[in-house]
Subunit: 150 residues, 2 copies
């Protein structure tokens, strides 16, 4: 993992369909050399997968919510994680420091779906307390372009 690798990752973050020859021109390597580095980056797990950034509106998921969760005392933590992983509405689920146990980031089609999700948690005995925060807008898109060369 040197500066060239980081530059390659940065370029791919912006556009993962760039040609190897194009990347090579940026970093001063042949397409083959870039391909070999790319293979290693994927094999090592540094690049987890190639994917697409999707506009939530296009998928009819206008609600973006952050839900703070404190598990109930009798909750099985592993079961909760499995539950979260299985719900396609959940984009992220983080174990966090502080007052709450988990922070869940989720997209739903409506506020009713959000209520249903929380009701499900309660019914299965996971939920101690929770607090929901709605996102109104995102001034910074979810772009993750890692620092280039440094």
């Amino acid at each position: 993992m040197d500066d060239i690798d980081r530059t390659i990752i940065s370029l791919l973050s912006q556009d993962a369909r760039r040609a190897l020859s194009d990347i090579g021109a940026h970093v001063g390597l042949s397409p083959s050399a870039v391909n070999e580095r790319l293979r290693r980056l994927v094999a090592s797990g540094a690049i987890q997968r190639f994917t697409v950034a999707v506009e939530a509106q296009a998928l009819d998921l206008p609600i973006l919510a952050f839900v703070w969760i404190a598990l109930s005392e009798r909750a099985d933590e592993a079961a909760f994680r499995a539950h979260a992983a299985a719900d396609p509405q959940i984009e992220e689920c983080h174990h966090v420091t502080g007052e709450w146990s988990y922070l869940v980031k989720m997209r739903t089609g409506s506020l009713a779906d959000l209520e249903t999700f929380l009701a499900g948690l309660k019914q299965q005995g996971f939920l101690g307390r929770s607090q929901t925060v709605l996102a109104l807008s995102s001034p910074v898109p979810g772009v993750f372009v890692p620092p280039c060369a440094g």
Copy 2:
């Protein structure tokens, strides 16, 4: 945007390097037809861009923090957004309901970098109050695979 489009998006979310013929086999279309749909999905903005999912550890960014921010009374909201957008450490910045104005999700190399970020906000007069929550682990990876066919 019909079920076929949604399926295409779902397949690309898992692996954006799938061949058009492979996608076509899943949805029952020819490669050309898939290509045409893909072109429209990109043109309409439903697919914002092709990118790669990067493991933060590989980039020496072990700290994942959520920072709640209440702007100071004299803060210029647009300036704050520009400031956030310009910081490569910030992955997301959401305008939210409730007690706080903004929720910032950021990755840094160290806790010191986090302090530096907050100090910078204060120095520029943006910061009213703030509260930082650290993520310890992510039981659910940041995969966003939209619901398929439904």
